[in-house]
């Protein structure tokens, strides 16, 4: 902000009206295209957007088209086969299983992560004394800093760390459990047993994300004026009641954004699986669509079919986002009626 005053611009604002009109009109008339203006638009908008279209938008569009072909990438041509890829896809039990796994994860991971994150954020912000001002816990920045650690560790490394922790014989988890006297876990394969694999994997994702969303919710809660909490307390609302009826509705937009971010991540989950369950897990219980797509494209070379999987993944992602918006609107509408 200091640049404003230092640049001598403030004097320009109070320039004589004649000067203002002269330059101002040259500036705002769109027909009057100077060299400055043309190069400006060219470099500032046309080049970046062209670059963006070439590398992001056009691949998306091409994928939609390729999904209607039998292209294998190395064949010189491709045949237009309509929706047969999609028909094949919805008869492919492995892909359907992967889709089911993804959908389960897109429900469990956001709900648990955001629930825990919100719980911790509430503890940090209003866990202090009820005397005087509403205040947070002492030394809460310690908890924030520590919880946030996993966010700066690449997801692939988080996966590798946990695959070692889950290791049946040398892993930390079974070491702790057997030390506690639970001998049945002596060489239990958490990632190799169809009953536990998907929960073990989801736990890793949640472990990695809770701190990030906790920090986010803390910031959002701090943005609520203190008087709101004071008023709630004077009205006799306890901590729990305050959290449910005051805090969450007031930061609803943040929660919605968080749900969408984390849902997109859970529908992908590729990187975690690449580290924890590269083969799809026991009985494919942790197989995700992204893994199927990757193998179909880059191992089997069935590019048309892989693109159809991509389209299905995109449609599910958009449907998920739409669902989150709809749920938020539903609850938003309800609370407004209640007020």
């Amino acid at each position: 902000m200091t640049t404003l005053t230092s640049g001598g611009l403030t004097s320009g604002v109070s320039a004589p009206p004649g000067g203002l009109r002269r330059i101002g009109s040259a500036r705002w008339r769109r027909r009057n295209l100077t060299f400055d203006k043309i190069t400006f638009f060219l470099v500032f908008l046309v080049i970046p957007v062209a670059f963006y279209i070439a590398f992001v938008v056009s691949p998306f569009v091409q994928a939609a088209y390729f999904s209607l072909t039998d292209w294998t990438g190395f064949s010189p041509g491709m045949n237009f086969i309509g929706l047969s890829n999609y028909a094949k896809l919805f008869a492919d039990s492995t892909f359907l299983q992967a889709m089911g796994n993804n959908i389960l994860m897109a429900i469990v991971v956001p709900v648990v992560t955001l629930g825990v994150a919100m719980f911790f954020a509430t503890l940090v912000t209003v866990g202090g004394s009820t005397r005087g001002n509403v205040k947070g816990l002492r030394s809460s920045s310690f908890y924030r800093v520590v919880s946030f650690f996993p966010y700066v560790i690449p997801a692939i490394v988080i996966g590798l760390i946990w695959s070692q922790i889950y290791d049946p014989s040398a892993g930390l988890l079974n070491g702790i459990l057997t030390r506690l006297g639970l001998e049945q876990f002596a060489s239990f394969a958490w990632l190799g047993d169809p009953r536990t694999a998907r929960w073990a994997v989801m736990f890793v994702i949640i472990w990695g994300l809770v701190g990030f969303y906790m920090v986010l919710f803390i910031a959002a809660i701090k943005g609520i004026p203190a008087e709101v909490f004071e008023a709630a307390r004077i009205d006799g609302a306890g901590r729990f009641r305050t959290a449910i009826s005051i805090t969450i509705p007031l930061i609803r937009e943040n929660v919605q954004t968080a749900f969408i971010y984390i849902g997109i991540l859970a529908l992908d989950a590729f990187v975690y699986m690449a580290a924890l369950e590269p083969g799809g897990g026991p009985d494919n219980t942790t197989l995700v669509m992204a893994q199927q797509l990757f193998t179909t494209a880059f191992t089997k070379g069935q590019f048309g079919y892989a693109c159809a999987m991509g389209v299905v993944l995109a449609v599910i992602t958009l449907a998920y986002a739409g669902l989150v918006f709809a749920v938020n609107r539903f609850f938003g509408g309800k609370s407004e009626v209640g007020e």
């Binding site: 400006f40 970046p48 963006y52 994928a63």
Partner: protein, 306 residues
């Protein structure tokens, strides 16, 4: 506006520092119920902190053990604290050169996307012209559609221009996929900067170029810092783009090198080196994080509260 500038400054909300301020030291003790709640809160959060820290400490400890020690007991301290594993990870896995590749790709992409993103965001925020609405939706699509949808055609786009399996190819792709987020974030930021300032610059005779580089860009510094930090973390952690588009082992970036090293370590049963590689990967980032944690957390909250 206020949210963003607050967020970009070191956030450390005032409430948290309260216990250290003298005014609070004479605070009356809370009720018994308060104490119970406070005690409960601390207990829960301490348990969680352990859950976060213990795995990391365990990795650090294991990185000094030999493979047979690792298999003997997950708890036992290493017989002797040797750096053999680190030497192995550094030389056989070549972590150093992959680290360098990551730095080159991420910094290159960051510069490119920050330039393009800030320029486009500025134009979109300042001027209304036919098609600006369409551009907005184009950006939104790039933000919400999964990269997986684009990955196959992208492979052939890069192959077509001869940049498949090269670092410049990765830089361009990284920058392109970070572009819509950058534009969205900075769009809101430039919107919030007063229009009269740009007009004043024009009055003083500054052209569009000068107005942007000498006036608007310096004013947008807090927003630029925020979005740069978020982009950096996102690109540093990127995994899918490199494993699909950069399969030449010499050009591996750190994340994919780690994945391939892990599968090799599985065959050669050199878990000590794997742990050491994890430590080498995590520690620099963790140190940077501890130094900049206030800014980073501020950026995260600003990124979502806009």
């Amino acid at each position: 506006m206020t949210q963003i500038s607050q967020g970009a400054a070191p956030v450390a909300p005032a409430g948290e520092r309260v216990p250290f301020e003298p005014a609070e030291s004479g605070e009356a003790p809370g009720t018994a119920g308060d104490k119970a709640v406070t005690g409960f809160s601390h207990t829960v959060l301490i348990i969680w902190s352990f859950l976060v820290i213990i795995p990391l400490i365990w990795v650090l400890m294991s990185s000094f053990k030999t493979s047979s020690e690792i298999f003997a007991s997950p708890f036992a301290l290493p017989e002797r604290w040797s750096f053999d594993n680190y030497v192995n990870a550094w030389t056989t896995a070549g972590i150093g050169s992959f680290f360098l590749n990551s730095v080159i790709v991420v910094v290159g992409a960051l510069i490119l996307t920050m330039f393009f993103g800030s320029m486009s965001a500025y134009v979109l925020a300042r001027f209304s012209f036919p098609g600006s609405r369409a551009l907005y939706y184009l950006m939104l699509a790039g933000l919400t559609f999964p990269i997986f949808l684009a990955i196959v055609p992208l492979f052939f786009v890069l192959r077509g221009i001869g940049l498949l399996n090269t670092l410049p190819g990765l830089i361009l792709t990284y920058a392109a996929f970070a572009f819509p987020f950058t534009v969205f974030f900075l769009y809101a930021f430039f919107r919030s900067l007063s229009k009269s300032i740009a007009e004043a610059a024009a009055v003083d005779g500054a052209g569009e170029w000068r107005t942007f580089f000498q006036i608007m860009l310096p004013m947008a510094k807090p927003g630029l810092a925020t979005v740069a930090i978020l982009n950096f973390v996102g690109l540093w952690n990127q995994f899918l783009l490199p494993i699909a588009l950069n399969t030449n082992p010499d050009n591996y970036v750190l994340t994919q090198a780690m994945a391939s090293f892990a599968s090799q370590a599985g065959y050669s049963v050199d878990f000590g080196a794997l742990f050491a590689a994890v430590v080498i990967t995590v520690v620099p980032v963790l140190i940077i994080y501890l130094i900049f944690q206030r800014q980073l957390q501020g950026s995260v909250s600003a990124g979502v509260s806009k």
